[in-house]
């Protein structure tokens, strides 16, 4: 999952990575020195400290607690386990390609950031260590849903860092002015959207570029499970009942011109927010600081609010749109020490919140002042934490999930421009999932 601030700079980052890789493929710098201690040594007594390298893609932006500062703090407190944190400037997919090459070359770091949807792919490629026993002791520190996303077929491979439950963002001041009620169900959302459209406003946007995770998360919110096991083979259900419900909602909104069609990461989306033609949007929890940033210095300041995702059924349920954890790579010589740092890192709630994350660790998150001000004094992170708890706990991804995103986005673009239907997106996902699994030599149930 492309994530948070890094995402906005995605193109530029890709540029940098491309330039770096095309210059000379054979000379990429590595981030770790092989540990001097022998494999299998757990605690080092009076000898050389254990070296742990950690590769991440957190934004490390202005005013945030930098990852390197966290590592420094850890190193002071733990002279036996010395951590080196390195930021990877590039796309998630490129980082995975690098990790794969490094693991094969034996120069990979111990710890690396990985999106929840990428974890199964990394596992299948044999890049991850089995840290089930080490992780067991830390499980209670994390929300069960997030922890389960770091477990692949019974093997735990790391610890979760943040989550991206879908929530509903809206401009409360505009809602009040137009006499709109905040929708709690998707039926209400459709009604409110049509009323608002009559007054020239949109309370929701259809975002083709986000189709892969955003629509999947909505199917999860509707109680769907796209991928499950059946006799040790994958059963793919991406176009089932839940997806049909999601398709029905959006087809209705599109057909009645009640939803704005804009790419989430295009200029049009930001423009619509700033000229207040778009006054509501379904987005992931990690969009809270991004939306605030996009609308900083406009009339929108202090007007917006966060609510739970309008429910598809009777119960309050939402779905995972992104989020990531920190995995232990196979070539790590000191998985126990790596996990010790991993757990410490992921429970530094304040520091991680400052990076714009909605943490997977349990414990109170304090809403940063700037965010609170933008959302009219609301305790935003408390609302997001509630959404985290309402996540559909059963939405695992297939190892080839990254391969189907572009086809889904292309289908969503066609649906948005009226050349296709919303349901086409899900049938595309279904077919692409099956063919990509078969192509990768993985079993599919028929």
């Amino acid at each position: 999952m492309e994530h948070t601030v890094a995402r906005a700079a995605g193109v530029l980052a890709a540029v940098a990575a491309l330039a770096a890789t095309s210059a000379c493929a054979g000379t990429q710098a590595t981030t770790t020195a092989p540990s001097p201690a022998a494999p299998g040594t757990t605690a080092v007594t009076g000898g050389e400290p254990v070296e742990i390298a950690y590769l991440h893609r957190l934004p490390d932006g202005e005013g945030m607690t930098k990852v390197a500062e966290l590592a420094e703090q850890w190193n002071e407190e733990n002279p036996d386990i010395q951590v080196t944190a390195t930021k990877f400037d590039g796309r998630a997919a490129e980082m995975i390609t690098k990790i794969e090459a490094d693991v094969q070359a034996g120069t990979a770091p111990c710890l690396a950031q990985a999106g929840y949807a990428e974890v199964p792919s990394l596992f299948t490629r044999g890049l991850l260590a089995d840290v089930t026993s080490e992780a067991a002791g830390y499980a209670d520190n994390y929300s069960a849903g997030a922890f389960s996303l770091m477990t692949v077929g019974g093997t735990t491979v790391g610890l979760p860092q943040d989550g991206g439950p879908l929530v509903y963002y809206y401009n409360a001041a505009e809602f009040e002015r137009l006499g709109l009620t905040v929708p709690t169900t998707m039926t209400e959302l459709a009604d409110v959207a049509k009323t608002a459209a009559g007054q020239g406003k949109y309370v929701v946007a259809f975002q083709p570029d986000e189709a892969q995770y955003w629509l999947a998360a909505q199917a999860a919110a509707a109680g769907g499970t796209w991928f499950s096991a059946e006799n040790d083979a994958w059963r793919v259900d991406a176009a089932g009942e839940a997806s049909q419900q999601v398709a029905g909602l959006w087809q209705d909104l599109l057909d009645s011109d009640a939803a704005l069609v804009e790419q989430r990461w295009g200029d049009g989306f930001r423009g619509a927010l700033n000229d207040q033609s778009l006054i509501g949007t379904i987005g992931a929890a990690w969009e809270a600081p991004l939306l605030a940033g996009d609308m900083a210095g406009t009339a929108n300041e202090g007007q917006w609010s966060v609510a739970q995702l309008p429910s598809f059924g009777s119960e309050a349920m939402t779905g995972p749109d992104g989020g990531f954890g920190v995995v232990v790579l196979r070539t790590c010589d000191h998985p126990a020490e790596a996990m010790e740092f991993n757990n410490w890192l992921n429970t530094q709630i304040d520091a991680l919140v400052s990076q714009g994350l909605v943490v997977a660790a349990t414990g109170p998150m304090e809403t940063p002042e700037a965010i609170r001000t933008f959302y009219g004094g609301q305790d935003v992170f408390a609302e997001l934490a509630t959404a985290n708890e309402n996540l559909n706990p059963d939405f695992p991804y297939i190892p080839t999930y990254p391969a189907i995103g572009a086809e889904m986005a292309a289908a969503a673009d066609r649906a948005g421009s009226g050349q296709g239907t919303v349901m086409d997106i899900f049938t595309t996902a279904q077919e692409a999932s099956v063919s990509s699994l078969e192509d990768a030599g993985l079993p599919v149930a028929r």
Binding site: L18, V152, W265, P402, A410, A440, G441
Partner: protein, 318 residues
Amino acid sequence: MAARDRRARGGRGFGRRGFGRSHEARTGWMFLSPFVLLFALCFLAPIVVSVRAAFHRDLPTGGGLYGGGELVETFVGVENFAQVLATPALWAGLGRVVLFGIFQIPVMIGLALLLALLLDSEVVRRVTVFRLGFFLPFAIPGVIAALLWTYIYSPRLSPINQVLGAVGAPIDFFHPQMILVSMANMTTWTFAGYNMLIFLAALQAIPRELYEAARIDGASEARIVWAIKIPMVAPAALLAVLLSIIGTIQLFNEPTVLATVNPWMGNDFTPMVLAYNAMTGQAQPSGAGPASAVSIVMAVFAGVLAAGYALAQRRLAR
């Protein structure tokens, strides 16, 4: 160019003529070694690796949902090639670059020749300023140029459309029927100046006596251009077109950047975009094997096109 060839041929006799020569040869190799090393490391090695990868595939060995958590590089013969050639996206992408090349290359080469002729003529003063000006877009890194044009094309920001919109005829640069033209404009802007330099160098190598003789014979400037200048730069045109054909087959920067704002373009708009995304597991087919197979297929295709063009050109010239 002919002179350079002759000199190279003359040098081949080295080493045979006695002891002192072999010492010289060793010195020569020493001077050459930095190049040979870098060439082997950055050029030959990747080719060998990708040819090898094209015949292999990483396949799971264990059963189960996640394939046992280990991939083994397996020799699969020509399976990757078979799969890649059976991928409709590859052919669709190939169709796009061929279509792109058919109209973009002649326009760009024509423009480059025109600019070079203008700069070579007596009409233009301050040639250096113009030469540098036309060449400048080439000095801008390709992706940066693509980003720049993306902003210029962007429906909400486009300065072009602010003008055209005012007269009621805005252009949708991102329309599926329009995107190739938009891209062609980007590459023409970037590479016209570069090709102009190739032509200009060729024009300035033409002996001035030819013009003088033609003028004494009463030829007009237009006639000089048509009967002397253009025929004399034909070899340069061959080079420029060959480079353009190869560049077009490798079309990557422009579609990659434009796809970030146009998801309908997918991850396989051109064959090279497909190869890249196959490599990072973001397109189907996935993996290093199929990605390498795509690259090799395209290299062969570019080679065949270039060779075909060079042959046709030579036959025409005769």
